[in-house]
């Protein structure tokens, strides 16, 4: 078992648009242990989204090494990257990003579909997770019939469906009122206690208190706050 679940060393990411180059990440080194609840703070354009995309295996580094749960993502192809995403990362988005045409159970089970799990397994696990996030009675409802808080709970259940080691939450309370946001953060906190590594990307200072570790991005550089 490696010491770090996320091991980033000298990561640089440069975006090229025409002739102009934008250094979104500048020599970032970040090592995250299992069971860390880490908040990545920073203003818009600071590079925190880029960092999250690379940790989430949606993007590849320009240089440096990124090892996610033992897998070096710099040297894998698109398909392998998709499999790593599916197995090791659970995404939670600000706008929930549920599939509007699918009911709760189908939304939760979707990541298992892409990994080729059987239907019986998928439905069993999705029902269990629905229960875990406290929405057992909402199995056949579509996202449009659910409140924002309920949608985000479904999204959290979906993020857990392949039992990933890392949960990536990108402004998970951004579209929720403060009370609901609080409930969502508590749910993430309890997942952390169960052993999930949580990465919270936010610029809401109030959320810092849920994290045991806070890093700040500014102009592509990372600094440790605590």
């Amino acid at each position: 078992m490696p010491e770090y679940v996320i091991d980033i060393d000298s990561l640089t990411k440069i975006y090229k648009t025409g002739k102009t180059e934008l250094k979104a990440l500048d020599n970032v080194t970040l090592k995250i242990r299992k069971k860390d609840f880490i908040a990545i703070m920073g203003p818009s354009g600071s590079g925190k989204s880029t960092l999250m995309n690379i940790i989430g295996c949606l993007d590849r580094p320009t240089s440096g090494t990124v090892i996610i749960d033992g897998e070096n993502i710099s040297s894998v192809n698109d398909n392998q990257l998709a499999v790593i995403r599916g197995r090791k990362i659970g995404f939670i988005f600000q706008k929930f990003n549920l599939i509007p045409t699918m009911n709760s159970v189908k939304n939760i089970a979707l990541p298992m579909v892409f990994l080729g799990d059987t239907k019986a397994n998928r439905e069993q696990r999705a029902t269990d997770l629905l229960d875990k996030v406290g929405l057992a009675n909402w199995a056949t409802h579509r996202p449009a019939e659910l409140s924002g808080g309920q949608q985000q709970r479904i999204a959290i259940a979906r993020a857990l469906s392949n039992n990933p080691s890392i949960i990536l939450a990108d402004e998970p309370t951004g579209n929720l009122d403060s009370k609901t946001g609080e409930q969502i953060m508590q749910l993430l906190g309890s997942l952390n206690k169960e052993g999930k590594t949580i990465l919270l990307v936010t610029h809401a200072v109030a959320l810092k208190r849920y994290a045991n570790r806070v890093v700040t991005m500014l102009d592509g550089k990372l600094s440790e706050e605590r």
Binding site: D59, A82, F93, N97, I99, T101, L110, V113, F114
Partner: protein, 436 residues
Amino acid sequence: MIRDIFAMALDAMRSYRIRTLLTLIGVIMGVASVIMVTTAGNSVSGFISEQWNIFNPTGMVIGTGTGGAVPQLSVRSAVFTTNDVEKIQQLSAVKTVAPIGVVPLNKILKRDGLLKWESQPGEAMYASTPSLLEILNLQLAEGTMFEEGKNEVIISQNVAETFGEDKRLQVGDTIFLRRVDGVTLEAKIVGILEQSSTMSMFNTLSTPGIICPTKPYYSTYFGSNVGTIFKRVIAYTVLLAEAKDTNQVQDAQEQILRYLDSGGSDANQYKDQNTDFVVITQQYILVRVDQVMSVIRTYITAIALISLLIGGVGIANIMYATVTERTREIGTMMAIGAKRRDILLLFLFQSTVIGLFGGFIGCVFGASGSWFVVDLLNTNIQNLGGAFSTGTIQLTYALEWFIIAFIIGILIGIAAGLWPARKAASMDPVVALRYE
């Protein structure tokens, strides 16, 4: 897993019901119109060849004109003599031959005491022999055949009603025939022909209005004479002949041409240097008609295929809009582990299913639509009257086109979906997730 993605595709189509329906309609109409056009074409060409077949399939027309691969008949000059008719009759593959001398009439007159009726000008009379009826497959409805040398004629149903239905000409009536040279000849109607339901090489030739014996009507007509002042001979414009059986049609044609082109035939002596002898068989006409029909059918089928193509453009259009609209969904699916192939299949399945269902429903609609089209054509034919009115078009499905249209429907579904699906699959998940 592919089955699950297929189920997701069906789910998505169910969710976007109207959109799915509209794309389906595009394909359905395309496939159905291909089937309707090809089936109608099949049925009509079946009908036409059946109509032609009623006329003697061993029949042929002998005349002068231009020979070659596509022979042209002109009925301008009278060159065939009675001697020629007798010689052709003796050829081994020929069953019967009958001459036709054209006697143009100015009008037909009828007197009853002081009353007098005149027909419209333009009726043509054919001077021939009794064997003409056999060759043309005509029957007498009433009366008998004329006798050569007597002032007797037989007339068609149409001519019988030339003065109106209430003043119908009867067997035994006497009429006066005014030829274009001004000579008026008396004629006794001895027979009336059955209404003919045939279509043949020449409508006027196969459905003559008045048939008369050569003497006295044709022999005294100025257009009938050839030869020198010292030796005048009666000659006919065309001959109609019949081969012994369908296998000997070509033999008969060759024998007749060989005889006519030889020095021994009178016609060869009288015909214009620049013209050829031409023998056009009913079989040849059938082949030509079939060729024309198939050209027309190909043309209409091509148009129908374009409508199928437009259905495909409809699919592509809507799929493209759908892919754009669902960009963030695509990004989300990629984020939670979907491979590019999964996204490609998700959209490709949708367009394929539309092609498949559209093709299937289009076949059903095409089959029932064809029935209506043929029914409509039949109604129109009945209304047209005349020679056609006795036949009906039989619905003859172009089965191969069901399969072709169905397969093209599916292929178009796949082809139309491929481009939008590839666009979806090649999205950068980071960009797709940011899409508003």
